[in-house]
Symmetry: C2
Subunit: 289 residues, 2 copies
């Protein structure tokens, strides 16, 4: 997905929020905004938003000098693991367990940008199972799984990765598929890295790899050769979160995007509304099948 | 009021919105954001927000090459004038007409940034008369009027100026005060200029002057000598809108601020909430009395 002019104020907003969460001083926060401001002319609106945001986040992480979100990520993982036994039971008892697992996995995408608001997450889970989805191409998703031997699952945030584990377990229980899950190559925001895959127990459910990159999305040109080989070979890609959507929307690959819509720009792109839960196939899916 | 880091993303947001409303091309919009970005380092956070925003708006107005908001302002004036007879009647029939007129004047501050959403404005008037105000120092306001021989009334937006006329008429009917109303010196956004004072009929109610400046607020250092003389000599200043509040909050002058809170930063400064209607005296009022 290209970047829109509306993304520019939002980059500044995100940078400020992330820099604060990373504990940077007011002066450092200001310098990050100023530095980004002077670089605006260098960014093409033809780039995807995560391609531009990557610079912002890299400068925040660099100034912090360590992973300032590690604690938040661990807290998110622990909190989600606490919910896991109950969620697992509910998925298994659902009339359509795969459907319930997909709904849960998207509900987990509410964990974004730091400390999960515990109450909201619980509420999100309730809503996910009871309410209508904004865009929910479940039948097409199910068919795609049935036709796939190998799946690449792109994770998004820490905490949320426990919900991904739930869906991956369900996929493996019901279908003879080989699943590889990919996490970010370097810490960026509260995005999941290898450590989170271990904490969430995902590494005991399927093979987990790093994508080798530091963007809050999946920028193929930045990813490692290992990742790209698995991406190319996968029959199907399951992409979690808006950052992965923004990076991969429009790619000629069989991808299903699972996320909650978090801004107007993306809402317009998929003809949904902010807050909607989305299960959506890449536009070229039919061509590829 | 100083500028906060949170104001920076908001400046970009405002610029984009104003540039679009002014009918600028995508390329022009982008260039305005880029140009502002490169200048970020030049702005001190000790400046007031309108002091910084002035550069943005000046570049938008310059690129538009004429007053792109003229039509919107005329529409706002006409619409508010259509409501005027009914509002006037309601004020005169109220148990406390001055109080009702103040509430109306603040309700009019909902007209901001372009085309008034007619429905909201009507609703705003109903709410203003029936509901509790967030901050409403009415008794102090009334006392200050009673002690004043001369008042300078700082107008804010077109359309809203009809509501200001209503309050000024009420003040003149009830108190032996000499009132001068000031509007912006040059078109900026939908802020009222001399033409709007004429269209609203305000010029037939009291003396109207231009402040000689082009900021979306009242930057004393930019205002004309005539304005400054009247400002200095006035026993009391009535300041409408958030832009005037941001410029004059903290000045050692007897000022009452009438506005609706439109952002978190201002909300924190006055210990109110976004959306609150405010009638608030300058902090140094007691010292000055």
């Amino acid at each position: 997905m290209r970047t829109y002019l509306d993304c520019i104020p939002c980059f500044f907003q995100q940078a400020l929020q992330a820099a604060r969460l990373a504990g940077l001083s007011d002066e450092d926060q200001r310098e990050i905004l100023i530095k980004f401001g002077t670089r605006l002319a260098d960014f093409s609106l033809e780039s995807t938003p995560p391609e531009i945001a990557r610079y912002l986040y890299a400068s925040i992480m660099k100034r912090a000098g360590h992973d300032p979100f590690r604690e938040i990520k661990e807290k998110s993982n622990r909190y989600a693991l606490g919910l896991y036994p109950d969620l697992k039971k509910r998925v298994r008892n659902a009339s359509l367990p795969l459907r319930a697992a997909v709904q849960m996995a998207i509900a987990g995408n509410v964990i974004d940008y730091g400390i999960p608001r515990q109450f909201d997450l619980k509420k999100e889970v309730e809503t996910a199972l009871s309410s209508e989805f904004g865009i929910f191409e479940f039948d097409a998703f199910k068919s795609a799984i049935e036709m796939s031997g190998t799946i690449l699952y792109l994770c998004d945030n820490a905490g949320e990765i426990v919900f991904d584990r739930l869906l991956i377990e369900e996929l493996k229980a019901d279908y003879p598929v080989e699943i590889t899950a990919a996490v970010r190559g370097e810490p960026v925001l509260n995005d999941a890295v290898i450590e989170d895959a271990k904490q969430s127990g995902l590494d005991r459910v399927c093979r987990v790899i790093s994508n080798g990159a530091n963007a809050p999305g999946t920028l193929l040109e930045d990813c490692s050769d290992e990742f790209l080989r698995i991406y190319r070979d996968a029959d199907l890609v399951i992409s979690k979160g808006q950052g992965n959507f923004e990076s991969l929307w429009g790619e000629r690959k069989r991808i299903f995007f699972l996320f909650k819509i978090k801004c107007e720009v993306v809402a317009r792109n998929v003809e949904g509304r902010v807050g909607d839960t989305v299960l959506l196939s890449s536009p070229s899916l039919e061509f590829q099948l």
